[in-house]
Subunit: 114 residues, 2 copies
């Protein structure tokens, strides 16, 4: 990170999850996270954060994060972990392991390059 | 960050800017970043990144980031810097100082608490 240590900025959220909600028409060559089933996954994520009272983790929907073929995509900062969850069970595992226990779920991490 | 060092995840973007595009009806008590002039600012940001060929910085529009009264809001990760730019000149300064030179613009940083 580039911020000078002197700034001493507070950490607002322990985990901040950015969830792609991009939609594209059926048959579009790039596809989209929504077409790959993102909606119900992010809905589950929000529901789990609320149900478990996980107040130090925030989530927000975004436009296209790029890397569309790797969707559904979620990037979690400040760790910089990019996830490709496929199922509700994947979401539940990320919530419990990463957001509650602090252990990223390695099997769901996509390694991307620019 | 909680990720074990053993993960050795690549840094996909040096700076990743998340820009609130939330809209609410006129007169809504929470207001919104769009109502506070966010749109033209983020448009300028995208234009400047492209014009200057800044390939290691990405930006994306988001839903509500919270802290609506502090808008227009943009959070830059992995640094975790929350900005409240008000003018096109503010955006240009963030682009040049933070994204090109690596020096966050302290006067535009909003200090937030959960």
């Amino acid at each position: 990170m580039d911020a000078p240590a002197s700034l001493e900025l507070p950490v607002v959220f322990r985990h901040h999850a950015f969830c792609c909600l991009q939609q594209r028409p059926a048959g579009h060559p790039r596809g989209s996270c929504s077409a790959q089933g993102a909606g119900p996954l992010w809905e589950r994520l929000g529901g789990q954060l609320q149900a478990k009272g996980i107040a130090d983790t925030a989530m927000v929907g975004t436009g296209c994060l790029g890397f569309c073929s790797a969707g559904p995509l979620m990037v979690v900062y400040p760790a910089g972990v990019w996830y490709q969850p496929k199922t509700i069970a994947d979401i539940d595992e990320i919530v419990q392991s990463h957001f509650v226990e602090g252990n990223p779920v390695e099997r769901l991490i996509v390694v991307l390059s620019r």
